[in-house]
């Protein structure tokens, strides 16, 4: 196994997963000397009735929920964060629980910064200051539709990213009562995002044994449960495995540099407002096809993670990296027609692609060139690789 000359690795959150794990929250809070969390959640989660189940988990504890702030929708902005921070202060809360994914978690992180640093806007951090203090305890309870960034040290607030190790959530609670998907598309999207993140973590030249160790179970779960999860989104086993995969992929991802598919999908998503998952489903196959064409050398960890030991051992050494790409392609294509297959089908205006490629190449710190990005995007526009 190859160990890079230098690497850093951190997976900060405590992950609690499985049956009856919601009931651990009071004791986890107690470990932080917290008694009164503010719950931040989304309207759709309220509507799906998950909040009721969530409240039940706090029965027979001494934890008072300081309020359930359920105003979060598809956008996390400072106005909403200020409202939630106001509620937090009025109620005298001492910790935050984010019930949901994506924007809910982003908002919770922002609220955490606001209340911990006692400020009312984030302009200092937008301008480059770094968060260097311990924040309040933040617990995350994922529901469906992940954006893949919950478990990372990144928060996207008002479309701007702030990265700091203190932004890692402290505890992630994956409970089968919360994870079942709302629809096959949503499960597929979350799965694709996790796959893309794990893929980026393993195909990066600078990956290290620890990121590989975290990405491995993520990919194994994805290859085993994604096809099942999209056909039966309510299945508890599949949903919990996929939620685990999502968290683990994010953990691996936050310790590596973003891959090309991630960058392009993020940029496209900002421009058009369509979720990253849809783009990744299109971009990842084109990226893989491109890698296959260029015969880029990658480690065989990808193959091992996706197909397991038996199949890995049964394959000749030199074929393993390539077979890994094939397996990833096969997995993503098992989604069939669930998500759009080309940018054209998504009706992306073609003239926007040049700009996207340029920004992505810029963000990649010279790892990918503008032309590389363009090639992948063009292919994705036609959807020929899918």
């Amino acid at each position: 196994m190859l160990i890079p000359d230098y690497y850093q690795f951190l997976i900060h959150p405590k992950i609690i997963s499985g049956k009856c794990s919601l009931e651990n929250i009071p004791s986890e809070l107690n470990g932080y000397d917290a008694q009164k969390p503010l719950v931040i959640t989304g309207k759709n989660i309220m509507e799906r009735g998950l909040v009721k189940k969530f409240i039940k988990a706090f029965y027979d504890s001494t934890v008072t929920l300081g309020g359930i702030f359920d105003e979060v929708r598809d956008y996390a902005g400072i106005s909403l964060a200020r409202d939630a921070a106001f509620l937090y202060k009025e109620r005298g809360c001492d910790s935050i629980i984010a019930l949901g994914n994506g924007t809910v978690v982003d908002l919770a992180k922002a609220v955490n910064v606001l209340v911990s640093e006692k400020i009312d806007n984030l302009s200092a951090y937008h301008e480059g200051a770094s968060i260097s203090r311990q924040l309040k305890p933040l617990i995350i309870v994922p529901a469906c539709r992940s954006n893949g960034m919950e478990a990372t040290n990144v928060m996207t607030i008002d479309n701007r990213r702030i990265t700091a190790d203190f932004l890692y959530p402290d505890v992630i609670v994956i409970d089968p009562r919360m994870t079942p998907g709302c629809c096959p598309e949503c499960v597929a999207e979350s799965g694709v995002i996790a796959l893309t993140h794990a893929f980026a973590a393993l195909t990066d030249e600078a990956h290290n044994p620890m990121t590989a160790a975290v990405a491995h179970p993520a990919l194994s779960y994805l290859s085993e449960y994604l096809p099942k999860g999209v056909t039966r989104p309510k299945n508890k086993d599949a949903s919990i495995a996929l939620a685990n995969a999502s968290v683990l992929a994010a953990s691996a991802y936050s310790n590596t540099r973003p891959g090309m598919a991630d960058l392009l999908a993020e940029e496209l998503s900002i421009i058009t407002g369509i979720s990253v998952g849809k783009y990744m489903r299109i971009l990842l196959p084109s990226l893989i096809a491109d890698m296959q064409k260029k015969k880029i050398k990658i480690s065989d960890e990808l193959f091992l993670s996706l197909v397991g030991m038996e199949a890995y051992a049964a394959t000749p050494v030199q074929e393993r990296p390539q077979k890994g790409l094939d397996a990833a392609m096969k997995l993503i294509n098992s989604l069939k027609g669930l998500l759009p297959k080309s940018l054209e089908q998504l009706k992306i205006q073609k003239y926007k692609l040049a700009e996207v490629a340029r920004v992505a190449a810029e963000r990649s710190a010279e790892r990918f060139t503008d032309a590389d990005c363009r090639t992948v995007l063009e292919q994705a526009w036609e959807g020929s690789a899918v």
């Binding site: 196994m1 160990i3 890079p4 000359d5 230098y6 690497y7 850093q8 690795f9 951190l10 997976i11 900060h12 959150p13 405590k14 992950i15 609690i16 997963s17 499985g18 049956k19 009856c20 794990s21 651990n24 107690n30 470990g31 932080y32 000397d33 770094s130 260097s132 203090r133 311990q134 190790d165 890692y168 290290n208 044994p209 620890m210 590989a212 160790a213 975290v214 491995h216 179970p217 194994s220 779960y221 085993e224 086993d237 919990i240 495995a241 685990n244 683990l248 397991g308 030991m309 038996e310 890995y312 051992a313 049964a314």
Partner: protein
């Protein structure tokens, strides 16, 4: 991959690894607003010149508050209190621990008192006494084996009451674990062997004990790979820095794995033998590991069989039939012990009766075995072993381990249902 019905995993230690890892400490400490660390270490480490290596690597960039090097073999709460005094006197704001298990445990204790105030560690005894973030805490392991840098437990003795106090809290986890091959370069071959086998045991037990979970499995898997690929090589060529780095990585990853999935009977026996006969931990581990696997074979044969993959490589794994894999694993571990025994010129013992102290007398007399067997009931690792382990079972295992003969598998009592993860 196995999906347990429940698991938790926490390993919030930032690991930095590499040939120049030590040089990164000042910048990372500055990121946590710490600029004046106290170095805690023991005499052995200090005399080996390792503290100087660290100091040199950080020169000019960081002001060292003080170096405290009085940590004994078994960490003691009085030493902790003493170190806290030094910490306060010199106005330090963070801690760097350089050393093995006891140094790290002592430093954890120092961190508790230094961060939470007071001057006596005993005030913080008991579960859940530590409820907030402590001072920045860096660990530079020098043994590549214990994995203490990844555990949330600090075992500190109270010589007055003659008990071992357990301090357990996620806040005890260090902020940084620094893996630099320079720190393990001077480790003698037989110690390298036994510490690495310690890490191997952590990894193997993490892999098959009942609290196993996907992340710890994956960490253990890679740890086993790295150890089996590098151990013999490093023992034969002590200057192999890449191999050293791999072992350090493996040890830390095994630490991350076992601190989350707990260990089983190998540790149970090892702890007991260590406590009663002062057998070095690593040595006990390497001796009991094959027996631990053998004892649990009927319970989790497939899982133990999977260990063959990292241990021997995919080719051997593929060419071995499924039902023989677990046995092959045990065989290979025994062979590894044998190889180490040969490579160290007999300094690496294979059975209990081969362990001698400095005077050349055997450390574990056969007469002690029943006492040891009875005493296994005092150790918690018994609980997480897949198969039930009672004193009479332990005695049977111990006798075989003493003699160096494989277990008579017919003698192992069976009768449980399938292990539920």
């Amino acid at each position: 991959m196995l999906l347990p019905s429940f698991y938790d995993f926490c390993c919030r230690v930032k690991t930095i690894s590499g040939n120049k890892a030590l040089e990164k400490i000042p910048a990372l400490l500055a990121g946590m607003n710490a600029y004046r660390p106290l170095i805690i270490t023991d005499k052995g480490v200090a005399s080996a010149g390792l503290v100087d290596v660290v100091k040199k690597a950080m020169e000019n960039k960081l002001k060292i508050g003080a170096v405290y090097d009085d940590v004994p073999m078994d960490s003691d709460y009085k030493i902790v209190n003493d170190a806290v005094r030094v910490y306060r006197q010199k106005g330090c704001d963070s801690i760097i621990a350089i050393g093995g298990g006891s140094v790290i445990d002592t430093a954890k204790g120092v961190n508790i008192v230094a961060s939470l105030g007071g001057d006596n560690l005993l005030d913080y005894e008991g579960y859940g006494a530590v409820k907030r973030k402590l001072k920045p805490f860096v660990v530079v392991p020098t043994t590549a084996g214990t994995g203490s840098e990844m555990t949330l437990v600090a075992v500190i003795t109270d010589p007055d009451r003659k008990i071992k106090m357990n301090f357990v809290s996620y806040f005890l986890l260090p902020d940084l674990a620094v893996l630099d091959p320079r720190m393990t370069r001077t480790l003698p071959a037989f110690l390298t062997a036994s510490t690495a086998m310690d890490a191997m045991t952590h990894a193997c037990e993490a892999y098959f004990c009942i609290e196993k979970n996907p992340i710890s499995d994956s960490f253990a898997f890679r740890a086993i790979t790295m150890i089996s690929e590098n151990l013999l090589n490093v023992v034969k060529n002590p200057g192999n820095l890449n191999g050293r780095l791999a072992l350090a990585n493996a040890s830390t990853m095994a630490g991350a794995a076992f601190s989350n999935s707990m260990v089983g009977m190998v540790h149970n026996l090892g702890h007991t033998v260590g406590a009663l006969c002062h057998v070095p931990h690593g040595v006990a581990m390497s001796i009991f590991l094959p027996y631990g696997l053998e004892y649990n074979l009927h319970r989790s044969a497939d899982i133990i069989g999977e260990i063959l993959f990292p241990l021997a490589g995919p080719e051997v794994y593929a060419s071995t039939r499924k039902k023989h894999r677990a046995e092959r694993v045990i065989e290979l571990i025994r062979k590894l012990n044998q190889d180490l025994h040969d490579a160290t010129g007999g300094k690496h013992p294979r059975f209990l009766k081969e362990i001698y102290d400095r005077n050349g007398s055997p450390v574990v007399p056969q007469s002690m075995l029943p006492v040891i067997a009875q005493a296994i009931m005092l150790d918690g690792a018994r609980l997480t072993n897949p198969e039930e382990l009672l004193p009479e079972d332990a005695r049977m295992v111990l006798e075989h381990a003493w003699e160096g003969t494989p277990l008579d598998r017919k003698k192992i009592k069976k009768g449980g249902r399938k292990v539920k993860y």
